[in-house]
Structures are given as C-alpha cells and as structure tokens.
Amino acid sequence: MRDIYEARVLVVEDDPTLRTQLLGLLGREGYRDVHGTGTVADALLIASTWQPHLYLLDVMLPDGNGFDLLRHLRETSDAPALFLSARDEDASRLRGLGLGADDYVTKPFLPAELLLRLAAVLRRSYRLPEVLPTITLGKTEVDLATGEVHRGGNAVATLTAKEHALIKRLSESRGSIVTTDELCHSVYGDEFGYANALAILMRRLREKVEDDPSHPCWIVTVRGLGYRLVNEDAQ
C-alpha cells in the first residue's frame, strides 16, 4: 500500500442510511475500495474473501456486536479496526476487553473527525508516511515536511524537533486555542513542570516565524489559557 487511499475499507453498520452516507463519504474522500454490510455474518464472509485493510465497525449489530465480530476477525486478520460507538459505556468496555481496537468515534461524529481518525489509524498501522502540510503565515511558509521556514521563496530558518512539534500541534487545531497543558503534553510528553520551558520555546519559534516576535500576529497568546495559531483569513 503506497497511500491510505489504496486501503480496502469494510464498513459494518446496520443502519442503511448511515452506511450509505459513510460509503459516500469515504468515496468522496478518495478511498477507492470501500465495501459496506450490515450484519456480522456478511462481514465475516466478506472479510474472509476480500481481506480488508481496515474495519469500520458499529458496536451494535442485528446478529451480534462489533466486539465479538472483531474477536472473530482477529483470528485471521491483523487489520486495524475503528469503532463507531453509540453508547458512552462502549469506550470503557472497549478498553476492558483488550481487543486491541485502534480507535473509536462516538456517534454522532463530524465527518471530518472520522476521516482524520481513519487516516491516522491507517498511517499508524501500515507505517505510511504522514503527509505533512506547509503552513502559511502571511509571507512566511513553514514546511512541516522539511522543518524549514521560507520567506519570499528562501529558507530563512530550520525548526528544531521541539519547535516542529509545537507548531505542528498548533496547526492541527488552527484557529482554536490550544492550552499550555496540551502543548506541554505534545512537546514534552508531560504537562507538569514545563511551563517555563514552553514559554522559552515559544519565544524561539516566534523568532523564526513571526515578523515581529515581540508583537506576534500569527501565534497569539490567550492569557491564562494557551496559544492560538491564527487562521489566514482572520488576518
């Protein structure tokens, strides 16, 4: 598999409307090989002949539940599974079962969120390279793939690993506040004891990406909460 869109995705959802919507959604996103079914029996049959790369499973099905289905599937396949859960208890049940399900999304979900999770699971499971975007901050561009900061077509700076992690996390939630706790967790792996280190790191990052680091207009501070990477159209 060269990219995630080559993955064979099996959607097991008993509600025909939602199933059709999911198949359409995946098709429009670019997934070329997508199948749908509404029962455990059909899913097992399709899985044995078609060998999907990823299962998108509803928890409650007319002839069984998604957890048991995954247990059966695991006997012959290591393909990752993403659950569509409609019950709050499913999350803890899933962990308790130790099935090794790769993720779950609670209904109702935003299509964009589902697609992101799906792509992440596929990349993680099949070790596909993440397509890192280039972040545009006015005249400055940050190429996350190379870690270079370009201004007017010239590379003016290179990001360190921590700076890269920081701007990547901010760009994932561009336009929204990312709390200092979340940033510390993403960059340092722990949210305690890194507040000062984060402030220093932020200063360095701003020096590389902002025109005036003392008066930042792209990575703005939200006092007492965290930082926000401002959307382009907001400028």
């Binding site: 409307t17 939602l18 959604l25 409609a86 019950r87 209904k107 990312v178 007492g224």
Partner: protein, 421 residues
Amino acid sequence: MKGLARTRMRDGLGIIASCIIGATVILIANVLIVGAVTLALSLTGASNTGPSATEVSQALAKQGGTYTLSANMVRDLRKHNCWALLINKDGQVTWGLDVPDDIPTSYTPADIASFARWYLNDYPVSIWRHGEGLVVVGLPKNSLWKYSFTSSFKTLGGGILLVVALFFADLVVLVVLARLFARRSWKQRDDARNEWVAAVSHDVRTPLAAVVTDASELLESPQLDEAERVRAKRIVTKSQETAALLADLNTANRLRYAMEPVDTCDVHLAAVARSVVASFLDGGTGGCELELAVAPVAEGVCVRGNEALLKRMLSNLVGNSIHHNPQGCHVTVSFDIRAGLLGSAFRQRCVLSVSDDGRGFGAESLSTLRKKSGDELPEHGLGLVIVRRIATAHGGRANFTNNEGCGCTCTVELPVAVRRT
C-alpha cells in the same frame, strides 16, 4: 457515591426495622393463636378425656360394706370409655367399674409407684387418695400421651436463654436473607434502567449521526449561500447538543444507580478548567464574556476521578450561565484551594466556582437543586443536577447560590488527591 450509599443505607435500615417488627408481630400472633386454640378446645370440651381420679374419688361413697359411685359419674366414665378401681391399704382391689381383664387385682407399693404417674398395662391412668385407699381411673389405651419433664433450674434458665438467643439468631438470618433479596432486586432494577437508557441513547444517536453527516457535508457544499450555510451549521450544532443531552441523561442515570466513576486517574483540575474555558471561547459564548482565574496555589493540584466527567461537570456549569443569559453577562471561572484542617494539607479541598452577573436562579430551580441527591431527576435543568452528582461521585459537593446583587455562583468542592509540580 455517597448519595447512593445514603439511599441504600436508608433502605437497609428500613429492611432491618421491618424484619424486627415483622418477626415480633409473627411471634405475638403465634402465641395468641396457640392460646386461643387451647382456650377454644377447653371450652368446647374437645380436649376433655373424661373425669379425673379426684372427681371419681369424691363421687365414690362407702355404704355399709359396699361402694357406690354416683350415677352421673358412672355415665360420665362410660361415655369416655374409662374404667375405675379402688385399691385398699393392703393393695387389694376392693371395688371396680368396667375394669379390663388384663388389669391385676392386687398391687405392691412398688407396682403402685411405677404406674402412679404413667400407664397401667398401657392404659393411661390417674390416681387420687380415697378414705379407703387409692382410686385409679384408667383411660382407653392410646388415648393420652404422658411424659414427665424434670429439669434443674439451671438447665431450665439456660433453655429459656437458648430460646431467646435462637429467636434473635433467626431474626439476624431473616434480615440477612431479606437484604440479599433486596440487593438482588436493586441490582436488577438498576441494570434494567441503565440498559433502557443506554438503548434509547443508542437508538437516537445513530439517526443523529446520519443527520450530522449530511448537514456537515452540506456545509462544505459550494452551492450553498450564506443563509443556507447558517441553517446547515445550526442543524449540526443542535444535533450535537441533542447528543450531549443524551450523554448527560446517561451520566445522570449511571451516577444515580450504583455506578462509581470508571477509569479514574489523577486529574489535573487547572488543565481541565483551561480546556473547558478554551473550548467555550472557541465555540462561542453568546454575548457572554468568559474569564478564568486559577490561583497559583491551585496549579498542579490533581483530584482522583474521571477526567471526562469532571470536564462535563465544568462544561455544564459554564454552559448553564451562558445558556440562561442570552442578553449577555460576565462569567468567571475560578479555581482555588481551601486550606485543610487547622491550615494543614490534611483534608485540603479544590474549590471550583463559576459565577455570573446574569439572571440568577429562580426560586423553584434553586430548591430543586438543593434537594438530596437520592431524589428523582427534575423535568428541566438536568445539567446542574449532573454537576451535583458528579461532585458527589468524586467525594465532593456542589453548592448553588444566588449572588446578592445579581447572578449566581455555583461552587464545587473536591478533595485534593495529589499536587504535582
């Protein structure tokens, strides 16, 4: 789950009280029944086995050299198939009425001693003194059971004590059994209710997912004009609100019925507060200004609990202020630490409060919110009831008050688990 524990304890004490009262009532009723039956038998004469030796002795008179028994007594003895005889001082039978053939005609003192209280040749007998000797009245065989009971006072006292002890032991067994049955029925009731709510939640969420998926895709459509886009956005938002409401209902139900918070860990409350406030600022606060004030001393303080539940608790509080003040107001979320006993770290508490200068609570909703947690869910304002239940489930408490000027303050106190730096 202190609230639940209180309810269960109340129910448990109720069971114990009803068992004790029930057992006592049954005991008294049994004694009364036995007394009544005995009285009835004696009144109707059903237990009358015939004239006693005393009566026969009094009715037996010696006239000249012969003995005569009154006609009434003879009739009475015969009516009950009894016989009677008189043994003189030499041990010889000197008079008899209907005496069976297998009854001896002479007796030694030893013979008399051996049958006096029991049976004479298997005939139950009773004896009484007479001027000429000893009157013996015999009843038909197998008509009377006689048993001599002899006991020392010590044994008798012990026996009575044993009966009393057994009564209380039985009572304890009764209480334990009743509690076991009650527990099972509580569990069945809880399970059924949880299952029902979860099933309804599931059934509603699937069509909601279909609605959100369609509306979200519509939002992306380039053919939509701005007004249509706003409407599509509203469909998404309202569907998500419905889903959140379902989640609230589920949580309230789980916390009410036998559910401890699951997946507990040390939750960094300041981070939770920042995350909740940030998501409100991102998602829109209506016309409200939202401010967060975390005291420096509260940084790094963790409570033991479920992060998702604690986030929902704070979201409900902030959401309540925003939702009920569409005209706009100032909402302040503050997080501080209240010193423990005598200023020490022992029993330190996290104090999370959300206060606004808006409309405040109505008198009715305030009284609903202050009811004990065992009560049923209110028709409206589920969000704040959940706040109280989540706080209780985490060993804390929630307090709702109206401010003096305007607006209201909701305060949640939770026990500090650990402080991390």
